[in-house]
Amino acid sequence: MTIQARPTEEMKMKYTALPSKSNPNPQPDCGTIYVEFCPEASGLGAKQVRGFNHTVAENNFHTGIFITQVPLSPTAVRMLNINPGHLGETFQEQDLLVNITRHELVPKHVLLSPEEKAKLLQRYRLKESQLPRMQVSDPVARYLGLRRGQVVKIIRKSETAGRYASYRWVI
């Protein structure tokens, strides 16, 4: 089974870098997402991933998401990550049975656009490296497809303050 999804205008805005001197008119760094469910229940290796990478490259999808029933071999995962010019993500079907962001202990994560990020850093007079951090391999970061260098706003309930916002720099 395969699915394709195109980004909304809002998402495109969030993924457009700030204009700079060398790049005065930046293009959004997101595009069509291609999702493939792998039917094979055993013997899943680099060959299947290479086929998947080929499909992604041929149709010029921006991101490919490969969903498998069994865990991928380390070689296959590495291969998925080095597809030049395209992003690759992989999930196991088992991990997708439950939506982890709906769990009561998981706070709301909101991705900041480059403008919002710049404003935040200016407001608190920070460098981005001074923010608290979060790994790309974090389950919520994987769920949201976060990339290295982005900043998320985390809104939690607080007994004393009602709502409390904190920020994480994705590394």
Binding site: G43, L44, G45, A46, K47, R50, S73, P74, T75, R78, M79, I82
Partner: protein, 325 residues
């Protein structure tokens, strides 16, 4: 050196030109890698206190990281290539065709043991025996629900040379191969691989790691090896000759060992110059002479113990009194 390496170079099955650089550090020192004048200007303009040397160091590290990435990509390509070996389905793993054996060995010399393990894993995923030159399927053991199996050795392999040795082996370890012979062949190759990644290897190591032997080749050679291994005095003298530091070739090798392979540091990042210390005068030692303060044993690192000091003071006072009188 170049003539020796040319066959292995031509056998690389990759479309990445920069991947060659990872294997051949010589290739890193290409004229195309030198920064152009514009690039230098651009780098230096944004950084007030930077010098061209900083740019050189930055570029050197960038090239190292790039070479590392390319090497990893190449290893992945090689794993995929090796999945399709052997070329004919009726090949005999004990006597592989020369072309297959060469392709297998030349591909393996950049592998680490971890990469080799993932090659075995990928081959098993395809349903093949883990040994790269074996066309058969891996064996399916009886008793699917057992996780461990007994493995009996040959007769007389037990303790004290009686009976049979016994091992308890996880089933998935046995199921990697088609037979015990193939397991032996594959593991024989595994022990020859180094743990050092290819981008850290020196040119001197390169010759050693390319010479991977198949089990059959090693067995054919074995009687010969025993007769060798005698070290004559001449050989030792020749080895000692090689220890000379000033030799430019050796200095270059030393630079390679440190990872200083880029052009700005052709002779090495550290400029080693050995000079004799010039001595202005010939040293002359004179015999120790008796000094008056040594009569009481002298001071201990500048400290004169109490009792000795008192005696000294009394002596002095008496002397003074005598003078006065």
């Amino acid at each position: 050196m170049d003539t020796q390496q040319s066959p292995s170079r031509s056998s690389l099955k990759t479309s990445l030109p920069s991947a060659y650089a990872a294997v051949n550090a010589e290739q890193l020192i290409g004229s195309s890698l030198q920064p152009s004048h514009d690039e230098q200007e651009k780098y230096l303009s944004g950084r007030p206190r930077a010098t061209p040397q900083h740019l050189g160091v930055a570029l050197q590290h960038a090239h190292q990281i790039q070479a590392q990435k390319d090497a990893e990509t190449m290893i992945l390509d090689r794993i995929i290539d090796l999945l399709s070996l052997p070329s004919s389905p009726s090949a005999d793993p004990a006597a592989p065709s020369a072309a297959d054996a060469h392709a297998f060995k030349s591909a393996l010399h950049i592998f680490r043991t971890g990469d080799y393990d993932s090659l075995i894993m990928e081959r098993n995923n395809e349903g093949n025996c883990g040994y790269g030159l074996c066309p058969r399927e891996y064996r399916n053991q009886r008793g699917r629900n057992q996780t461990f199996q007994f493995k009996w050795g040959a007769k007389g392999s037990g303790p004290g040379g009686r009976g049979r040795s016994m091992d308890i082996v996880p089933r998935d370890k046995l199921e990697k191969w088609c037979s015990d012979e193939c397991a032996e062949r594959a593991l024989f190759i595994r022990v020859q691989l180094t743990e050092q990644p290819v981008w850290e290897r020196r040119a001197a190591d390169e010759g050693r790691s390319t010479s991977i032997e198949l089990l059959e080749e090693a067995r054919a050679k074995r009687p010969k090896r025993r007769t060798q291994g005698s070290t004559s005095a001449a050989a030792v003298a020749a080895d000692l000759q090689k220890m000379n530091l000033q030799d430019p070739e050796r200095a270059h090798e030393l630079a390679m060992e440190r990872g200083d392979t880029s052009l700005p540091f052709r002779g090495g990042r550290v400029d080693v110059q050995i000079k004799e210390k010039a001595q202005s005068s010939t040293p002359s030692a004179s015999a120790p002479q008796w000094r008056p303060e040594d009569a009481k044993g002298g001071s201990i690192e500048g400290y004169v113990p109490q009792d000795r000091r008192d005696n000294d003071a009394m002596d002095l006072d008496q002397g003074d009194l005598l003078d006065q009188i």
